[in-house]
């Protein structure tokens, strides 16, 4: 057995080869190289499709994107001049950040953003976006470091999958209609520096952020339905759980008192019954004893 090592544009592929498979290995290596180089250039074209799909899926009543986002001239880096678009390099169509804050945009979360494979920042704040955040969000914007969806009309639950966006530094979901519990897994986001879910309809315990517990204050959670846990009031003395506690305690107490009462009552009853039984027995016993005593007395003397 011999090993063929094929240098494929800085990626190294090793596999077992014998003399018969050598040709196959070389062919496979060449096709992988072609695929890799194809993927490098396809990645750029995909960014154009990403922006195209955003424009198509969002309603733009103020015509902000309509004028600026012109896809007719497809030269390299042309999208880098689009309003709200920041590229990694000025002459390459590779999107770094999308900032479309306060543009009157309407619609649901634009799923086509998945094609912006090098996206690190997304700001869609202060628009009229609705619906829920996709449940596979980390597959759509897995490398995002700043995600600002605040001041929209997003609803539904905050997806657990958001905890897989492990590079998140800033996560702003405030001023929306998010409901249910905050996924506790969000506490595992190790790079979080800023987090807010204020002004929503959330309830339940808040996550314990492993790396940023001192950065997250009660302000992050203000104006929700019933959040608890540090830095808010502890969850154990929350109104709902204490109600059930009182009810349970009262029930147990009542049963105990009733049992004690019954026990005392029964005690009295049986005492009384046994006392009455003794009186009945005595007269008969005495008669017998007296009759016995009489005869025995004569014999003894």
């Amino acid at each position: 057995m011999s090993i063929v090592c094929v240098d494929v544009s800085k990626a190294c592929l090793l596999w077992v080869c014998d003399s018969k498979l050598r040709i196959v290995a070389i062919f496979a290596g060449a096709s992988v190289w072609l695929l890799l180089s194809c993927s490098l250039s396809y990645g750029v074209e995909s960014d154009i499709n990403c922006l195209r799909s955003i424009k198509e899926t969002l309603q733009d009543p103020r015509k902000v994107l309509n004028i600026s986002w012109n896809f007719e001239n497809n030269t390299e880096g042309s999208i880098c001049g689009f309003i709200g678009v920041e590229c990694w390099h000025p002459d390459e169509s590779k999107v770094l950040n999308i900032r479309l804050s306060d543009m009157g945009l309407k619609g649901s979360f634009p799923l086509g953003i998945q094609n912006c494979t090098s996206l690190t920042g997304l700001d869609l704040s202060s628009n009229e976006l609705y619906g829920s955040i996709p449940s596979n969000i980390s597959k759509i914007i897995g490398f995002v470091t700043t995600l600002d969806l605040s001041s929209n009309s997003f609803s539904g639950e905050i997806p657990e999958n958001l905890a897989n966006c492990s590079y998140l530094n800033v996560l702003k979901l405030d001023h929306n209609n998010f409901s249910g519990q905050i996924p506790l897994q969000l506490g595992l986001l190790g790079r979080i520096k800023e987090f807010s879910v204020a002004n929503n309809l959330l309830s339940g315990p808040v996550p314990n952020f492993i790396n940023a517990s001192n950065l997250i204050t009660a302000d992050s959670y203000a104006n929700n339905l019933g959040l608890c846990g540090k830095p808010l009031r502890p969850c154990t003395s929350a109104s709902k759980s204490s109600n059930t506690g009182i009810i349970a305690g009262a029930a147990i107490g009542g049963v105990t008192i009733a049992a004690i009462g019954i026990g005392i009552g029964m005690l009295f009853y049986f005492r009384k019954a046994s006392m009455m039984k003794k009186k009945d027995d005595d007269p008969e016993g005495n008669k017998w004893a007296r009759s016995l005593k009489g005869t025995k007395g004569i014999k003894a003397s």
Partner: protein
């Protein structure tokens, strides 16, 4: 008489100060012009992009691709996509007000001068898409106003200097497509940077990484015909550049 002497000495003083300032200004401007001229001398310029770079002029501020501020001090050098080859010079560090150094997409070779660390006003350092070699100097950590650091697509080696994590103004970092080794910092400003910034290097992958290489059956005994070839343990490595750090140097075996 005394009054005349006072007036004359006073005006002489003013005059000499004025002239002295003029000389100083000219000297300062010339230092910057000299620095850029040294760069021109080290470059091959087949497209004659640097034709306007005339060192006999008082300042370089009239040269094409050079921008100055109101005090005739160089703030920008824009030579991207200029088909330039040759090497960078240490004199580039003598442009104290330089904010934008744009030398991307050329054929520049050699090292990144450590003197670039003296450019304390630098906001953008774009040396990407060239043939630069050597290491990234830790002196770049002194560039406390740096926002864009794009060194991708070169042949840089060595480790990523930890001093860069102290540059809190950094917004865009691209070190991809080089030959960098060692760890990827995640503290300080580097908290903002994702694997996209470090793609295609030989850096150690962070804990959340692809599964380690699977080592299959031990190598079979070699036959006489293939005994010349090197015998190594068979390893299947995913086609992922980061995981390829485990690969030995590659040879093309026919």
């Amino acid at each position: 008489m005394e009054r005349a002497v006072t007036v004359i000495s006073g005006s002489t003083l003013v005059c000499s100060v004025f002239v002295f300032q003029l000389i100083l200004l000219r000297v300062a401007a010339n230092t910057e012009g000299d620095a850029l001229n040294a760069l021109k001398s080290n470059f091959d310029d087949p497209n004659n992009i640097l034709q306007s770079w005339d060192p006999t002029l008082v300042t370089p501020c009239t040269w094409f691709h050079v921008t100055c501020n109101s005090e005739n001090s160089v703030t920008r050098v824009d030579l991207g996509n200029a088909n330039l080859s040759g090497k960078l010079v240490s004199q580039l560090g003598q442009l104290p007000n330089l904010q934008y150094l744009e030398l991307y997409s050329n054929n520049i070779s050699g090292r990144i001068p450590e003197e670039l660390g003296n450019l304390t006003n630098l906001v953008s350092l774009d040396l990407y898409l060239n043939g630069l070699t050597g290491t990234i100097s830790p002196t770049l950590g002194k560039l406390s106003k740096l926002r864009f650091l794009r060194l991708n697509n070169n042949s840089l080696t060595g480790t990523i200097p930890m001093s860069l994590t102290a540059v809190m103004s950094l917004q865009v970092l691209d070190l991809s497509n080089n030959k960098l080794t060692g760890d990827i910092p995640v503290n300080g400003s580097f908290s903002l940077f994702t694997p996209i910034s470090f793609k295609n290097n030989q850096l150690n992958t962070p804990p959340v990484s692809p599964p380690p290489p699977i080592v299959p059956n031990p190598p079979a005994p070699s036959t006489g015909r293939e005994s010349k070839d090197l015998e190594r343990v068979c390893v299947r490595v995913p086609a992922n550049p980061e995981a390829a750090s485990a690969c030995p140097p590659c040879i093309w075996a026919m």
